[in-house]
Symmetry: D2
């Protein structure tokens, strides 16, 4: 199966309390996985969430579009991948989750804007941190 190109990937594993009464990971938990992946990515590029907070930077999620293609179950291991594009003040995280056998689980676009000391910002401070990771759409 051909997979999209991504700039970063993180291996994770389903925790049993994330599975719901239908035996599959509850929809909302995928937003947790995506958020955790973005935070680990930030740390990977050199900036922890805590450091951002200390500087008064707050990336704010404006929009999430997520399509559920198949389901994760108990004990499943998976790869959570992301790449980024920038459109004006918006950073678009293109995020996909795959099982280790290549099955595509979800695809998502997460739109984030930058808030600095409580005010909307152009995002140049984040763009500098992410600069080696932008892809062309």
């Amino acid at each position: 199966m051909e997979q999209k190109q991504h700039q970063y990937e993180l291996e994770m594993k389903v925790r049993d309390y994330e599975v719901d009464g239908q035996g599959i990971v509850n929809n909302a938990n995928y937003l947790h996985y995506l958020e955790h992946t973005r935070h680990e990515f930030c740390e990977h590029v050199g900036l922890t969430w805590r450091e951002m907070n200390d500087r008064g930077w707050m990336p704010v999620v404006r929009k999430v579009e997520i399509t559920y293609l198949s389901s994760l179950r108990m004990d499943d291991r998976f790869l959570s991948k992301l790449s980024i594009t920038r459109k004006g003040v918006r950073f678009i995280f293109h995020q996909d989750i795959y099982k280790l056998d290549g099955t595509h689980v979800i695809t998502a676009q997460v739109t984030v804007v930058s808030v600095v000391n409580g005010m909307p910002a152009r995002g140049d401070e984040l763009a500098e941190v992410f600069k080696d990771y932008f892809t062309q759409e």
Copy 2:
């Protein structure tokens, strides 16, 4: 403020453990609010989640598009509203959350399809249950 027309609404209140380190409700929790509202709506129209499971009906979420407009905080009360349209085999739940003062918090479209005894279905059994609640787009 003019609000959209909805067929059903549920008053809820933020629980403290739903608030994250930024003092606002974590993004993923809105999916919980939306899911809970759909389930309460089903019960309102005469069919509990448990009864659906017993009949082998499983509404499956295929896509969520959610736009975050403002934030809920600790102790906030809010109205979670929905209406439904049908497009072929897809049921589109149009869901909005407002604070009691009318502030628009999130707007979402949740696409659901019907699975019966594990097989994709046309959704006529759900359409019958929801029939008094469909709106024209």
Copy 3:
């Protein structure tokens, strides 16, 4: 069935995402129910969580002892009840959850101490708020 005497009770309902892969409410969610009940109780006696924070008061949980007697399932409604005793600087919340048919679900003791402006406190400010609700052990 004889039930213990409690000073406060709150009716709640299981939300589907609180149920895990075994079809029953996940153990950790009962701590959420107990916490939510304590916060609603505080609001009931005249002090919201937010007001406490504004005054620099922070009730801190030191210990939880919880015994699981039976399980809650999807759609179950239940009563979450509490009473309080004070032992020196410790407030002991005696909390029990019952199904509406009287089945005892969990029994718990939650030990809370008072922190004021970041320093351990004797708890006299909380004791004043709770004064009409203490029971003798």
Copy 4:
């Protein structure tokens, strides 16, 4: 700092959505950490949660006693450790969480009993799996 002897340990990291409005990990999430540690331990000794379910074995938590000694915050890494003792039909998991600098975060005793095909069991099937890991109290 002298730490207790444990038979198994797992390194984990706080995920941001586990932190609540006070900037610290919400009490209920520690039960998730403890549960996840027990499941990883079972997999470590050769039996996944899914395999147990397939065989009709269900370890059921009867009691949790947890004492909160200090708090985990955003980005914290920690060690989740456990050992087991057996008392008749009860398995007692002695679980402790430490920050990487040795700070003791929580100490807990989790009592588990064995249910096989829906009936209470003596637990000999679990005892066989855990046999190299029991400690004397």
